[in-house]
């Protein structure tokens, strides 16, 4: 932690136009690129966006508040299961119902788990969130109400409907829906991170005792960060449920919890864009590795983690950020 904190870049403040350049460029790429892609590649891009949202939301607790959670799949999966159960038992895939309900359920679960897990701190927090996530995993595995008869998990999900006659989604329009939702969430997270609340979180990460002596209720701040981050995971989970057509207990388990964590670390902890870059790296490596060697791709993915940790410890995103600032310097328009 010690070295990582020293190298964390300063948070961009509002009003510094140069810092908006990578955001605008990124959004433009995300808007224009899919037009030229096949529908398969579009669905890969959708997957990337969903996980980028998941990782960015996760990073609010992990990177900014310093809560090492290994159980965020619980809230992600809760969102997914909301979509699944509504489809399975009530036959509804209405976007206007599923999304708020999914977010609500994810938030409630995060609020309950947060009370239990925040009894401890540091690496114990990791242990507890891990175990709580697995609790939901075994609930989903054992409760028959949460499973399509004859299998584990719920299958046969579909893209959302909007209750508007004659308007149905296809892969492309679903991509733009996910992009829109992600951008809104990303903007909200940007505002949260740059608010006094966000700065207080960073302060708690860096020195909780000091913040407490300054009169902050640090427990409440951490708790709120955890719950908000759970809510964003829930949104990602709802979108994932629509995207994947299938929700299974593994989406609540540790394997899924681990993904946003390593996206955040690979991209750069405690930065807003880092997890997005990390998500891009992991989703595309996972994709190409699974195409090239269907049997051995976990080996490649595991190798990627090891190499990333040993050689790019600050996160790829941080390097890119510096590069961008350097380019800014070069054109003489830097204020950062």
């Amino acid at each position: 932690m010690k070295t990582a904190n020293q190298q964390t870049p300063t948070i961009p403040r509002q009003g510094q136009m140069i810092n908006l350049v990578p955001y605008v460029a990124g959004v433009l790429i995300l808007v224009i690129l899919p037009v030229f892609l096949s529908s398969y590649s579009q669905s890969v891009m959708t997957r990337f966006l969903i996980f980028a949202l998941f990782a960015t939301g996760y990073n609010l607790a992990f990177g900014y508040a310093g809560l090492i959670s290994l159980g965020h799949a619980a809230y992600f999966g809760a969102g997914g299961y909301t979509v699944a159960v509504l489809k399975l038992h009530y036959g509804s895939d209405l976007f206007w119902i599923c999304t708020p309900l999914g977010i609500l359920i994810a938030t409630i679960i995060a609020a309950i788990f947060g009370i239990i897990a925040l009894r401890v701190s540091g690496i114990y927090f990791l242990l507890v969130t891990f175990a709580l996530g697995q609790l939901l995993y075994s609930v989903a595995w054992n409760v028959s109400w949460l499973n399509t008869p004859g299998m584990q998990g719920v299958s046969g999900l579909s893209l959302p409907t909007f209750g508007i006659a004659g308007f149905t989604l296809n892969t492309t329009s679903f991509y733009y829906l996910v992009l829109l939702v992600s951008l809104i969430c990303f903007y909200l997270l940007f505002r949260i991170v740059n608010s006094p609340f966000g700065h207080a979180l960073v302060g708690i990460r860096e020195g909780e005792d000091r913040m407490r002596s300054l009169g902050y209720n640090t427990w409440l701040y951490k708790y709120l960060a955890f719950v908000i981050s759970g809510a964003f995971s829930g949104i990602a989970g709802v979108l994932f449920g629509y995207y994947n057509y299938l929700i299974s207990p593994t989406h609540l388990g540790v394997g899924t919890s681990f993904l946003p964590m390593c996206m955040a670390i690979i991209g750069g902890v405690g930065t807003l864009l880092g997890p997005v870059i990390g998500a891009a790296v992991i989703i595309f490596v996972e994709l190409y590795a699974s195409i090239m060697t269907p049997e051995r791709w976990p080996l490649i993915l595991g190798g990627l983690f090891v190499v990333a940790i040993m050689f790019a410890r600050e996160g790829i995103g941080v390097y890119l950020w510096r590069l961008c600032n350097k380019v800014g310097h070069y054109y003489g328009s830097t204020k950062s």
Partner: protein
């Protein structure tokens, strides 16, 4: 009454395996501040190697125990010396690295041993049963309890009564001061990690008798170890022993008395312990 004893023995034998899984990880976590998420995979490696030696090659069970323990120990030592050594006090990086090894080792073992699960087995030495209150009880389970207790005593002795144990405990409390006294903590930590991995491997061979070995085992075992550590408290052999036995016995009675909720009994125990005593039953208060 007989049923009660049988349940208790089942719980104890399962609890002993749990203890062995958790003790190494708990001590590593307490002494070195390392979260080794690959601990469950080391258990699995030990289990596979032990199974191959003891069942496939038909070698004596003790040889299986030793080779399983040694194999896991060497893999663990390689991870520590090659990678974790460079990542002290960086929990994020440790988590990512060790989880990377979960992927790598799981896939490698799938490559080497194939996807079919190894069934629970009984070693020739331990086959047969003993009569307890008029009911036959398998010898192998009793032997598991016995081996567990012996290892618990040895580990406790190592931790509390020997010079090496004192040095490790000193390093736990104040690393800089201990190094200032001229103790080579790095070598000591490598030793601790090796021993912890060996115990995981031995537990893998013992556990293979009860649970078998299969490819998804790494994460399941990790979960069990973490729950035991949360219940018992981090950093001591006694804590892991208490947590292991408690979880094992509660699980056995849960299965017998209310099978529908059996999956959740250990989670309930964990949550109650967390709410009452967040640092675990025998954990150091931080």
């Amino acid at each position: 009454m007989e049923q009660f004893i049988i349940n208790l023995l089942n719980g104890l034998s399962y609890g002993m395996v749990l203890f062995l899984i958790a003790s190494g990880m708990s001590v590593v976590m307490g002494a070195m501040n390392i979260i080794n998420l690959a601990h469950g995979v080391l258990y699995m490696v030990g289990g596979y190697v032990g199974w191959t030696i003891a069942v496939q090659f038909g070698a004596p069970f003790v040889l299986g125990l030793l080779t399983g323990g040694l194999a896991a120990g060497l893999v663990g030592l390689a991870i520590e010396r090659g990678f974790l050594r460079l990542l002290y006090k960086q929990p994020n990086e440790q988590v990512l690295l060790t989880f990377g090894f979960v992927y790598i080792l799981t896939n490698l073992s799938l490559w080497i041993w194939g996807g079919w699960p190894r069934m629970p087995f009984t070693a020739k030495v331990l086959s047969g049963s003993v009569e307890i209150l008029g009911k036959a009880y398998p010898k192998a389970r009793l032997a598991t309890i016995l081996i567990g207790f012996i290892l618990a005593i040895v580990l406790w002795w190592l931790q509390d009564k020997t010079r090496v144990g004192a040095m490790v405990r000193a390093g736990m409390d104040n690393k800089e001061m201990t190094m200032g006294l001229g103790i080579n903590l790095e070598r000591l930590f490598a030793l601790v990690f090796f021993v912890a991995s060996c115990i995981a491997g031995v537990a893998g061979v013992l556990g293979a008798q009860l649970l078998g070995v299969y490819n998804a085992l790494g994460l399941e075992i990790l979960l069990l170890a973490l729950i035991v550590i949360i219940v018992g408290g981090v950093g001591s052999v006694q804590g892991a022993l208490l947590g292991g036995i408690l979880i094992g016995v509660i699980d056995a009675f849960g299965r017998a008395l209310f099978p529908k909720l059996a999956m959740f009994t250990m989670y309930f125990t964990m949550i109650i312990i967390l709410l009452v005593r967040p640092s675990g039953l025998l954990g150091r208060r931080t």
